[in-house]
Assembly symmetry: D2
Homo-oligomer: 263 residues x 4
Amino acid sequence: MKLLFIGDIVGVPGCQYVREVLPGLLRAFNPDLVVANAENAANGKGLTRKAAEQLFDAGVEILTLGNHAWDHKDIFTFIDEDRRIIRPANYPEGTPGSGYTVCTVRSRPVLIVNLMGRTFMQSLDCPFREVDRILALHPHIHHIVVDMHAETTSEKLAMGWYLDGRASLVVGTHTHVPTADERVLPGGTAYITDVGMVGPSDGILGIDRETVIRRFITQLPSKFAVANGPRQFCAVLVELDDATGRARSIERVYIAEQTPAPG
Amino acid sequence: MKLLFIGDIVGVPGCQYVREVLPGLLRAFNPDLVVANAENAANGKGLTRKAAEQLFDAGVEILTLGNHAWDHKDIFTFIDEDRRIIRPANYPEGTPGSGYTVCTVRSRPVLIVNLMGRTFMQSLDCPFREVDRILALHPHIHHIVVDMHAETTSEKLAMGWYLDGRASLVVGTHTHVPTADERVLPGGTAYITDVGMVGPSDGILGIDRETVIRRFITQLPSKFAVANGPRQFCAVLVELDDATGRARSIERVYIAEQTPAPG
Amino acid sequence: MKLLFIGDIVGVPGCQYVREVLPGLLRAFNPDLVVANAENAANGKGLTRKAAEQLFDAGVEILTLGNHAWDHKDIFTFIDEDRRIIRPANYPEGTPGSGYTVCTVRSRPVLIVNLMGRTFMQSLDCPFREVDRILALHPHIHHIVVDMHAETTSEKLAMGWYLDGRASLVVGTHTHVPTADERVLPGGTAYITDVGMVGPSDGILGIDRETVIRRFITQLPSKFAVANGPRQFCAVLVELDDATGRARSIERVYIAEQTPAPG
Amino acid sequence: MKLLFIGDIVGVPGCQYVREVLPGLLRAFNPDLVVANAENAANGKGLTRKAAEQLFDAGVEILTLGNHAWDHKDIFTFIDEDRRIIRPANYPEGTPGSGYTVCTVRSRPVLIVNLMGRTFMQSLDCPFREVDRILALHPHIHHIVVDMHAETTSEKLAMGWYLDGRASLVVGTHTHVPTADERVLPGGTAYITDVGMVGPSDGILGIDRETVIRRFITQLPSKFAVANGPRQFCAVLVELDDATGRARSIERVYIAEQTPAPG
Ligand SMILES: [Fe+2]
Ligand SMILES: [Fe+2]
Ligand SMILES: [Fe+2]
Ligand SMILES: [Fe+2]
Ligand SMILES: [Fe+2]
Ligand SMILES: [Fe+2]
Ligand SMILES: [Fe+2]
Ligand SMILES: [Fe+2]
């Protein structure tokens, strides 16, 4: 079983680039399941119905979210109905939407879980206990994908090792920069600290870089806008054993438009 | 001119692994200058005279530091004397040691600057203004290496773009996980968000992983110890134009001991 | 029913001052129950058996804790046995000790609960949900005291209003400075944002002020020591209706040694 | 010389209450200078021209600001022109407006300085060094008022003690809850950790309390609105020696509308 996990898709340029790039990838790699983090799909902050539909049309099957899940109010109108969209599971009980979903891939159930870290982020429930709880609800599912949306490398690595041998894949999202530490951990869990993002390559995390730099320098508030220019696509391709759910391999997928060469 | 920049070296395993690996790398790549971040060299926290000497003996020529610079009090006994060791320049005036140093490489002056981010870190002076000030002091130096020790990808990317065309190399350190975004920016500055670390591969940031996981789960204090087991070495190799200081290329260097294959 | 709640007791000077001051207060006000926050009793960080015994000997009956609960390892040897000592209830399940205790005062059960805020603090469970859970376990207790140990005024005020009409007293602790906002909320809950501390008046939060100032200015690590000199005692005296548990009044108690007059 | 310093004025209810209450206070106490923190005057976030004029009309002479200074864009149209309005001085060089102002009171120059803390706040320049710099520019002024807008009690206390003997008055603002620690420090500086706010008494920091509580419990974003209902006025009245600028006394001023008594 092959999975493609796509990192945070940023704004219109990100959604558009998924539509341009994904069909070719599907032909080339023929993944059995495509999951993507969509917390920044709506103009950098949140997810609209329209952006979600575009991503589904392009071939994404499951969307995960993160701290920006609620930034566009549109989400509240559809997150409770659409089983293909999940938000971090460790938001407190009563939060709209679900923190995990199960779909059928090659006749087998696959559990996809979205978690969020707490260090330098919001005050959520413990993601470690939450994932234990969710896994206990699905003792017969062996193919398990976890999106750990977190700020620090330590909290993501802790989740990877915590789930080693229990999940098929643990990917980090949120920092928008792909890490080069993809590996299959000793217990059979594929892991990467951050998948990276899909969106403008020459912005900062997909945002117009002049605005971001000015904010660091002035410490004054400023409106962030999604950047323009060449785009990049970051994902991981993971191969799982059909019977056991253990990962056989994980590799980074990186596609980018030509950027101007240094002068 | 070729530079090798080595990421955060963690504890005895990290220092030892530098000694094992670096001689072969020097033969293979023949870099003209070797710089390393040593904020974790002394048992994970700080830098001792002894650890510094080991790294110099192994072939490192300049050591940078970070938020852990002051964790071992030994540092105060030698940081004012040794021009080969620098600490983040944006610590306030009067801080022991220097935030930059100049050395001669292939008959040309090379300026090495250490900076620290502020987001989720200590309350230091503005690293953007500080680097402007330092560059203005050295208008005739064209080969400039900047270690931006920071937590967030956005603050490191902001520094990379801010210095594009003004520095030869901007590397991020601190998160201990190598990123896969190395590139030469349009203005000629080589950039990577994080170089990664040198130390135990199967810990969390080089620390015993059971302790780290337990701390996330219990939220109780616990003593961190450097991990054992197989080790990794993360660096970047950068080639600069001798005349202009512009970067021609940057590539990641990753060496690791054999880890047990997934069962 | 009269309660005396004493704020964070800092180090030897704090414990000693409680012993000097409390007997007179007991004679003067004749409270039916004396509770104190003891997270800083052991030299500023944590609680030792010896410090706890001194406070019990002085007339304190129940000790609450906070983020410093675990700073002295002694706590692990007695917190599970001693029902008079509680730690924040929203530490995760499995944490040593208990987050609440029940004692009998004037033939009535009194429930004392310790909670901790999350803003700018550790990643604990939700204190609002946790207190709901604890109150639901004790539907027949009407005299309820809550120590909300938190950094921000907003999180403490939120807890006060959240429990208005359900608790008899909600006090804030942790910031060591008494606030002047004590009142009985409309539903009958006595409230104060921070009780203040017991310890050296001319330090900063009870700590030697030169060290604290130096740390702000240098951003270098430094060992904090409990200050010397004149001492202060901060508490609140609350009167509850015996039948309903509603608060009738809350007043601040402030006692201090003579400090040198301004020159 | 008598000074009245009014804490953070929140929204329309706060501005309106200043207009109702201040004239009587001016008659009663006859202060020579009235300063107020106005960072929340414009609907809870920022300062408009209109709100500033209302406060000046009511008798306030100098307005200080804080982290919310820039929340309403109106500020950028007048902060550079109006010497009666200052923003935290430790914003970086080039920030609109000024961090201090000098006015004449009873034929003597009075320096008013606005500073902001850094702990749990933005990454500004060091407030301790900044105030040293400003004081050094005005060696002949002995009447000096400092508004230290900060989150933690320790950073505010550190500033109070740091300036003891050098400033006439150091007040904390930002947490909106008045503290009960007003005193004249040994060197002659009047100090209080927080003056408190002017605005709705039954909100949370002046904001509708249901919204604030819901945000803590759900961790979802929500729009904050200024609360309705009875209002409070928090200030300090300070008496300074005309010749030396040393403080003779500091006392809290608290005025509030009738709130419903507990049932
Ligand atoms: Fe994102
Ligand atoms: Fe995110
Ligand atoms: Fe670091
Ligand atoms: Fe490090
Ligand atoms: Fe505390
Ligand atoms: Fe405390
Ligand atoms: Fe503020
Ligand atoms: Fe405010």
